[in-house]
Amino acid sequence: MRKYISFIAPTLTFLFLLILWECLVIYNKTPLYILPAPSDIALSLLLNYNDLLSSAFVTFKITILAFILASSLAISLAILFSQSRFVELSLYPIAVIFQVTPVVAIAPLILIWVGLDNAEFAILILATLVAFFPVLANTNLGIKSVNKNLHELFSLYGASRYQRLVKLQIPFALPFILTGMKTSIGLSLIGAVVAEFVAGSGTSTGLAWRIIEAGNRLDMAKLFAALILLVILGVFLFLLMSFLEKILLKRWHDSSTF
């Protein structure tokens, strides 16, 4: 029983809240355009199944692309930083500037530069910018955290820079990189949604656009249905990263618990 409690407890709480929500809406006769009951949301999800799922796929595609792009760029840049202090000193402040600049503030610029016909590409750039920094900062920290004695061990055997990087620094930084990626995958999704909100309808038809559309039509049930899909997407992506972390760190790192 104790084994299943971590699953049963939140499930029962969740079910209880859903029932409470349903009862309160029915009891108070809350209008559908203010707060739909869970049953209304479920019905909307079924009725708009095709629209919502195709939009979820668009958001998922942009999120994954942005995540891969952000992670690859950030890891490459952090490796470059580890090889040249000059490059690090030159580029790190620029990376920080991108990190602290709110995505909504630069979204119009990116949209104009990319062209309104390419809204999806603009959203991809914006989501990448949002997801980039955690991987960069964590990879940089991981590479710098290598134990001094381990560096000396490699010096003792005359390791080349390449050997030091591949056999020591990158594996040592892996738990740090994965932590950064775990944060980054959630930010990719947030970035994709926020960017789509800012970009407006354009040519993109992700879940954010469905939310705007449903909000404008006061179709709250559909809005909630789109929100639920976003939550499911976020949780799925987080679990995906946790699984990847478990596979990669499996036996050798204490953090590899699911």
């Binding site: 594996p171 892996l174 790192h253």
Partner: protein
């Protein structure tokens, strides 16, 4: 023979020297001294990890011996299995020796870890990790083994077992051992010769040849205890002097 000729090491201020030492081949020499006396610096200089500020480190036959270094912590790479950790020096030096895996298994067996080749470091005890570290240091056929307080973090029982195994390793393989420790009893128990360092900047204040009439239960004899008392007295004076 490893020769330290007027060796001085300065960082922002002097930390060591001048040091004049001759370490004979196949000898077991321990270095003791207060914290900051430059004991570890001597090992790092001998290994070439750092360069002397002045003086010269030379070898009697002008050939730098193959060296193995065992650090205070085991410095195993946690993402590599035991056998891959032992093979690391061969990979880094691109040495093509025949049957490297067999050789590493042989060393694993010599340090008493048969069957642990596929374990990861986090599955080993502190003593076992240190044994792997010693096997790694020896895989290249080191003739000079440098150990920097390798047993300081181990419990008394494990420590004594590892000390005996290290003595066995030294005798069987005809290697030279330069051993840094904080423990006077450990130094007297293990060594043929103990060098006592002064506090910073470290210089040699005493160079003692350990007398050992019996090998069995040497640490139970009055001869052992008197030498421990003598060296502890010198060390105490140095500590107070600091």
């Amino acid at each position: 023979m490893l020769i330290f000729n007027n060796i001085v090491k300065n960082y922002e201020e002097p930390v060591l020297g001048p040091i004049n030492l001759k370490i004979k081949n196949n000898s077991f020499v321990s270095i003791i001294g207060p914290s900051g006396s430059g004991k570890s610096t001597i090992l790092r200089l001998a290994s070439g990890l750092i360069k002397e500020s002045s003086g010269l480190i030379s070898y009697e036959d002008c050939v730098k011996p193959k060296m193995g270094f065992v650090f205070q912590d085991s410095t195993l790479l946690p993402w590599r299995t035991v056998i891959d950790n032992i093979l690391l020096p061969l990979e880094l030096t691109n040495k093509n020796i025949s049957k490297p895996k067999d050789k590493s298994l042989m060393w694993l067996s010599r340090v008493g870890l048969d069957g642990k080749e596929n374990s990861f470091p986090n599955e080993l005890s502190g003593g076992q990790k240190m044994r792997v570290s010693i096997a790694r240091a020896m895989i290249q056929g080191a003739s000079l083994l440098l150990l920097d307080e390798p047993f300081s973090a181990l419990d008394e029982v494990t420590r004594r077992k590892l000390e005996d195994d290290l003595l066995e390793l030294w005798k069987v393989n005809n290697i030279t051992v330069l051993f840094v420790t904080h423990s006077v009893t450990e130094a007297v128990y293990l060594s043929e010769r103990v060098i006592v360092m002064s506090s910073s900047p470290g210089t040699v204040v005493e160079d003692v040849v350990i007398k050992r009439k019996v090998n069995n239960n040497f640490d139970q004899t009055e001869e052992f205890m008197s030498q421990v008392r003598y060296l502890s007295g010198i060390l105490r004076q140095e500590g107070e002097g600091k």
